[in-house]
Symmetry: C2
Subunit: 463 residues, 2 copies
């Protein structure tokens, strides 16, 4: 076995000509399609026309497309991808050695670009279609800041204006994230702000508020809808985002196929689902078509357990309750997760695609606690040399746990996980961990009941 | 030409089996060898025995080796290199397009590792030899923090203790750098500190001091010499460091050779010389052997212009005047550069190897001002997607300037520059630039005279 292992390099990079030229749309292979978005007033499926007031036309088409298995990646986006892709598929030889496991561990590392995460894969696509439509700019919200940074980079490249509403506490606590966005020419506003009706209303009602993702979404949508030549863009949850992120899984599969490796277990962290949905897409496709089988594991924080403890119902995508309704595993749009340091995983809901797949038993989900995540992060950093983002480290935790099970049983399983990004802007969290000051938090059933109470009640939407 | 260009991918990665297995020692090809280090008391060349009180034995041998052209890279170091190397050689298609230049621009990007720079290339080598000698740990100083981070990572991998003396103002202003080092298990002490005699002396004399690199060096050396099983390590200036950093140039040359590309101009930023010396080494070798010719340009900040305005004499390597004397271009060991944001380039002297090569007319040097550097950095970030470190951006500035000269003349020159690292921990500087609050500073002749006055005077060391 050792010789066979040695043939696989530490890092597998695809050649430029091996890079995917099409995204893969997993919905085409799903028997049970994800439920459509509903108009919150009429409870009827949102039409393309309704959606096009908020989103670019081409992205609306992608959002609604449950049929086409492959969608061409425009040449301009392929060219941009070449600047930072293919991302490496890394064989974690050093981690395996440290654990003393017979398991073979691989990770797809998406952090080698300035936005520091996989978010750029969809940001460039959304910016491209906005530019193609002749728009002047786009608006969005950002919490932890990875999405806002990615979108700023994409807009700088495409020559689009970019207005980012950044949750006020992040804006103040993460000034460096803000400066990266400004360096890329974005207009960054702390939310809630005086620049929108909804912002002024919230500030009047809650003068000291430090903001929330839900409020920032509301402000960004208001500005997009009310400004000539603007649309709103979003970094996760939506079907279109998972489509773009399929580039992660397609590259991973191509790299593994090149060396004749078939994974047994595929692991990804899950907040809104953009990374996990992208990583697993082509593998899930084979599973859906009955060609191959894989264990697929979603990892979420114990503090925000939408898949493992949420309800599979229609709910609002934002806490302001202005967006369409999506059928998803949700903790309720007014669920307030504890201040977990994995800001990218603090979302109350989950992608409709992943929710449906989970509901149909096609993937598993598990939740992990913060301190155990940072323990895994630190071990990983020391042996593999990469300082991981807290979000990504949820997947590391479970990959290590699965590898240790292999050590017990002696099984030589092949484990692949998604390392979504780097932790350079999360060092306040690392400092807390280094100082032994990090807490865990698991919501009680009573905490969850508060969130569930906010789920809209209408016929067919029983909890 | 377009077709020929297209054949070259955006990023050239060497295959694992194409990676260099030996470092290249440019001294072997120099007719005029770099002058030896002198004992500051006797003014006699430092012996191996004298140096081995401070440095590991194997590194002392490398420091003094002017003969061997190639030195094997130990397998353990090759394995570590595989975790983050080869680094990509990037064809800057987007920058070329933005500039509208016929020049072909390439950059060797060393920032894709958690230390964020090329410093890891020598850190792992120095940690390896320390471990091999059976040492317990190493000490060092760090200013901007890239070197300290790299050494922390290397020591975590090798299982060595790592004590870092971090200039106090950096320790306080860059807490995130500190936390990365702590995450890798390093013991980080703000300097000056109460932990050393020299630190206590300085604190007594200057109670409010925020420290200096020179003081941190003195503390680190004191601890290394006075602690059983410890040695001192350094991230630049020394011959051994340039030897290890030759991996940058060797990979660059292998990647260019693969596509039949011969550069006309090679550009690197220069502080102590570790990056520039490594990048240009194999090209300089060809030049020294009369095989090929290249223009080689060192870029330094106008605020700390050791090559362009310094003296080529023996001087102390630290401001505390406790180290051996090195013959180099120097501004004087008590020269205080203005608070330029390129912390890695704020060193009063320059590698003895590069100093000799410059003195012999084998390379050029130029200096650039800070605001023009950040202007180039921002343009580069927006079109090439990478947020560069301020240090690296000095090379970007001159690469752009040379490419614009090609635009005027119509010459299709091939320009290669070193992109040494990322700017994630330099966002205070970017914020100043974004806010229009950044100043330039060029020392007057009177400022320089203060530094020159501190250069030791002895027979044969005339200024």
């Amino acid at each position: 076995m050792a010789n066979q292992n040695r043939e696989i390099p530490y890092k597998i990079y695809l050649e430029e000509q091996e890079m995917p030229r099409q995204w893969y749309n997993v919905r085409a292979d799903m028997k049970n399609k994800p439920a459509p978005l509903l108009n919150p007033g009429t409870h009827q499926p949102m039409t393309a026309q309704e959606l096009s007031a908020v989103f670019c036309d081409e992205l609306v088409a992608q959002e609604l497309d449950n049929e086409h298995r492959y969608i061409d990646i425009p040449q301009e986006i392929q060219d941009f991808y070449k600047m930072y892709r293919p991302s490496p598929l890394v064989r974690a030889y050093c981690l395996e050695k440290k654990l003393g496991t017979p398991a073979k561990i691989y990770y797809k590392f998406e952090g080698n670009n300035t936005s520091g995460s996989h978010k750029l894969n969809s940001a460039i696509a959304q910016a491209y279609y906005a530019k193609k439509q002749g728009l002047k700019g786009v608006t969005t919200e950002t919490g932890a800041g990875q999405w806002g940074t990615a979108l700023s980079m994409a807009c700088a490249y495409m020559g689009l204006d970019c207005k980012v509403y950044m949750v006020k506490c992040s804006y103040e606590q993460k000034p460096f994230r803000r400066e990266v966005m400004r360096t890329y020419g974005a207009d960054v506003t702390p939310s809630p702000s005086e620049t929108t009706q909804v912002g002024r209303k919230i500030l009047a009602e809650h003068p000291g508020t430090t903001g929330s993702l839900g409020c920032a979404i509301s402000e960004a949508v208001e500005v997009a809808v009310g400004t000539e030549g603007y649309r709103y863009v979003l970094g996760s949850v939506l079907n279109q985002v998972l489509l773009h992120q399929s580039i992660i899984g397609l590259e991973t599969k191509a790299a593994l196929d090149k060396y004749g490796v078939k994974p047994d277990i595929i692991i990804g962290c899950a907040g809104g689902g953009s990374n996990l949905g992208g990583l697993v897409a082509p593998f899930m496709g084979e599973k859906l078509r009955g060609e191959k089988d894989y264990r697929i594991i979603a990892v979420e924080p114990a503090s925000c357990p939408s898949l493992t403890r949420g309800k599979f119902v229609y709910d609002f995508c934002d806490t302001g309750m202005v967006t369409p309704l999506a059928k998803m595993y949700t903790l309720g749009s007014n669920f307030i997760p504890s201040p977990n340091h994995a800001g990218g995983l603090r979302y109350h809901g989950m992608s409709a695609i992943l929710s449906q797949l989970y509901h149909d038993g096609l993937m598993e989900a598990t939740s992990v606690e913060q301190t155990s995540v940072f323990e895994a992060a630190e071990m990983f950093a020391r042996v593999e040399g990469i300082l991981p983002a807290p979000e990504s480290s949820h997947a590391i935790r479970v990959a290590i746990d699965e590898a240790m099970k292999c050590k017990e049983t002696g099984e030589e399983k092949t484990i692949v996980f998604g390392l979504t990004g780097t932790g350079y802007f999360d060092l306040v969290a690392y400092e807390k961990y280094n100082n032994g000051e990090m807490d865990d938090y698991i919501p009680t059933d009573e905490d969850l009941a508060v969130g569930f109470a906010g789920i809209p009640k209408f016929e067919g939407n029983e909890i």
